[in-house]
């Protein structure tokens, strides 16, 4: 192992890595969920009263809502055995030696820098790369762009925050949005003013930041008229966490003529239940694009959606899911056409391997009056062996005239002919299979910034090694 476990990650941060250790709070972590804990979280954060009430109301809704009776099997989640809020120093409870060997090996193979991998593995405390972060912040604030963690945004921009928070995904939307609304912490807040184009993709603080990868992060993005922003969340390296539940909420408002792209690559360790609600409202001639990659976790349920609120709005979901042994990726997208002349596309690619299961679940809804709308759904599944499984659950409700709705679904296996062709050029079976899989997800990969695309291909390579028979 290249990494020495003896490095003291608690001191000399600035000198060694250029990070800083955040100040310690006085808070005793407790398991379970009740109004007292919710109040404590809110108090700890020094939140205004309306937010405390919002959280408590959400907790009530969470308790009343039944578990979803569709999708993946969630019955094993024990809500009373979860820490709903942890200080950074509480998170730093593991040691490098305690990490599962496969996670360590993957960091090695991906060449993740030492400081970063300790952080990803949850061994070190959270850090930010001050230098990069601050120069970017300076540039952004000159343009009037706000880019903060969500907690800070609530403190620093209370009015703007209150105007939009919870308007796209109300707590009562589903059981897990209610849970997130009650106990949320961290996430990103972005406001892009009218006509401002942010040229560099905004990443969750130089790729990684503890709060962004928290269990219940909450992200809110507002693209004002004619603006553009590309936000990237997550990273390709596996994120190890002993927390079993990740339930985020992402709300996005894309105003007239604006465009927002939200790219996610998630690779949680395979003990995690990843239950995320992502929704955007797109107004006149606005464009919302979700680029969503799901690799890790035990169970993922995630269906990014776009509400096409005004004429000319456009929604796009491009997603991939990779399910290996013991994994179930239940993913897809939702397009809600509310106004006429709106268009949407959903492209879903899934790969199942070694008994893994992928499901595409999609909903296209066209409301009365949303005439001349167009929607096209394409889902392609690739099965790498006979034990793996893929299902498609498309739901279409069309209540308007002159609507064009297309749906294409394919399920295929790695073909013997393709394998033979590649192997006849000297390429090993394993490498040939990896090439075919990378080729299959290429429509996704080519939408990623180069460094992410390269990492994703390497990761697929690791996932494929010695796996397919």
């Amino acid at each position: 192992m290249a990494t020495s476990p003896k490095i003291d990650v608690g001191t000399d941060y600035k000198e060694k890595y250029g990070f800083f250790v955040p100040e310690d709070y006085v808070f005793k972590a407790k398991r379970g969920l009740n109004p007292e804990i919710v109040k404590e979280i809110s108090w700890m954060k020094g939140e205004p009263e309306w937010m405390t009430k919002f959280r408590l109301r959400s907790l009530e809704i969470f308790r009343k809502k039944p578990m979803p009776n569709w999708g993946a099997d969630l019955s094993v989640i024990d809500f009373e055995n979860i820490f709903y809020y942890l200080r950074a120093s509480d998170k730093q409870s593991k040691t490098w030696e305690e990490l599962p060997p496969d996670i360590k090996a993957t960091y090695d193979r991906l060449g993740v820098p030492e400081a970063e991998r300790k952080f990803l593995a949850g061994v070190s405390a959270q850090y930010e790369s001050e230098v990069v972060y601050h120069s970017l912040q300076k540039e952004l604030s000159a343009k009037g762009v706000i880019f903060l963690d969500t907690d800070s945004a609530l403190r620093e921009h209370p009015d703007l925050f209150k105007e939009y928070f919870g308007t796209v995904i109300p707590p009562a939307d589903n059981k897990f949005s209610a849970l997130n609304s009650a106990v949320w912490s961290g996430g990103s807040f972005i406001y892009v003013p009218k006509g401002v184009r942010v040229d560099v993709p905004l990443q969750a603080y130089f790729r990684i930041n503890a709060e962004n990868m928290g269990q219940f992060e909450r992200t809110l993005i507002i693209c004002d008229e004619g603006s553009f922003v590309h936000y990237i969340e997550g990273c390709t390296a596996p994120i190890y966490t002993s927390d079993s539940l990740h339930s985020a909420v992402v709300e996005i408002i894309v105003k007239k003529d604006a465009r927002c792209r939200y790219t996610t690559i998630q690779n949680w360790s395979t003990n995690v239940f990843n239950l995320v609600t992502k929704r955007a409202m797109a107004y006149a001639d606005a464009t919302m694009e979700w680029v969503d990659g799901n690799l890790g976790s035990q169970i993922t349920m995630k269906y990014p959606s776009v509400y096409l609120m005004e004429p000319g709005a456009k929604g796009d979901v491009l997603s991939i899911a990779f399910a290996g042994k013991g994994q179930h990726q239940d993913a897809g997208g939702k397009m809600i056409h509310v106004a006429p002349n709106t268009t949407s596309t959903i492209t879903s690619k899934s790969i199942s391997k070694a008994g893994g299961r992928t499901s595409y679940r999609g909903h296209i809804k066209v409301y009365p009056g949303a005439n001349n709308s167009k929607s096209f759904v394409k889902c392609d599944a690739l099965l790498l062996d006979d034990n793996s499984r893929s299902d498609t659950y498309p739901y279409n409700d069309v209540d308007a005239d002159n609507v064009t709705l297309g749906h294409e679904a394919t399920v295929s296996k790695v073909s013997d002919e393709q394998l033979f062709y590649l192997m006849s050029r000297g390429i090993t079976r394993n490498e040939a299979e990896t090439m075919i899989v990378n080729g299959f997800i290429e429509p996704f990969t080519k939408e990623l910034p180069l460094e992410y695309a390269v990492e994703l291909n390497r990761l697929i390579q690791l996932e494929m090694e010695g796996s397919v028979g």
């Binding site: 073909s415 013997d416 393709q418 033979f420 590649l422 050029r425 000297g426 290429e442």
Partner: protein
């Protein structure tokens, strides 16, 4: 013994016996042509030599470099120096030709992702490509395209020969490389193959028609009918087939003469 020795090769597809004992020795420096009517086993021969999983070997051996290659995976055969130019090159979406060629060359050189010294350098790769593209009258624009995806018949076949030129095999099997090609494409392909001819390369051209043999002169011609060679000789065998076709070995209701292939 020849450099590449096929001995009494028997093979079947889905339980049907196709090759019924084929014996042929190919030395480096030689060009052999195997000619035969449809269904005679020509493609089975090429697939069996390369190790396609759909073709079952029922007997015989193929000796190359001191071992019987019939038990080896296709990639191992390729790395030993055997190449098959496909009659129907396979489409692989999402992988660029450049990426494919580079990966194949690296595989040929034994690069497994670790020992960087075995990797083809970008400069070397580019200069190899440039030269071969010119010979085949191809331009760069096909390099970023996906493997064989949307290629015309001529582009596919030229791309096969490009791969051969880049991989520099010792034994090359050209399976109906001429089928579906216009006369210009046949000339470009033949020119490229002729350039590669020499003491380090043995070629097996599998074809239905004599046309390609006007441009790539074979040293030996073998006629395959119903899974067996019925005639072997020099290039005069091809001339004879040009006039009489396969009729003397065929059932009465088969086409008597070698119909000219329709040019696509």
């Amino acid at each position: 013994m020849a450099d590449f020795e096929i001995k009494d090769l028997r093979a079947s597809v889905e339980g049907k016996e196709i090759l019924k004992g084929v014996t042929l020795g190919i030395n480096k420096g030689e060009v052999h042509a195997v000619m035969g009517p449809n269904g005679s086993g020509k493609s089975t021969l090429s697939y069996a030599l390369m190790g396609h999983p759909g073709y079952k070997i029922d007997g015989g051996e193929v000796l190359f470099k001191g071992q019987n290659v019939l038990g080896l995976e296709p990639d191992v055969r390729a790395r030993l120096g055997i190449f098959l130019a496909f009659q129907y090159p396979v489409v692989v979406p999402g992988i660029s030709m450049t990426n494919f060629l580079r990966t194949a060359i690296n595989a040929q050189r034994g690069y497994d992702g670790k020992d960087k010294s075995k990797q083809v350098s970008p400069k070397e790769f580019r200069s190899m490509l440039k030269g071969e593209l010119e010979v085949l009258h191809m331009d760069d624009s096909f390099l970023p395209r996906y493997i064989n995806d949307g290629f015309s018949g001529g582009e596919k076949k030229r791309a096969e020969i490009l791969q051969m030129a880049m991989l520099k095999p010792e034994i090359a099997i050209l399976d109906e490389t001429d089928s579906g090609l216009d006369i210009d494409s046949i000339k470009f392909v033949a020119e490229a193959v002729n350039r590669m001819r020499g003491p380090n390369l043995g070629v097996l051209i599998i074809t239905h028609y004599t046309r390609i043999l006007e441009f790539i002169k074979p040293d030996f011609v073998h006629v395959l009918v119903d899974g067996r060679f019925v005639l072997s000789g020099g290039s005069e065998v091809a001339d004879r087939l040009e006039t009489t076709g396969y009729s003397e070995w065929m059932e009465a209701d088969e086409p008597a003469v070698l119909a000219k292939e329709e040019v696509s």
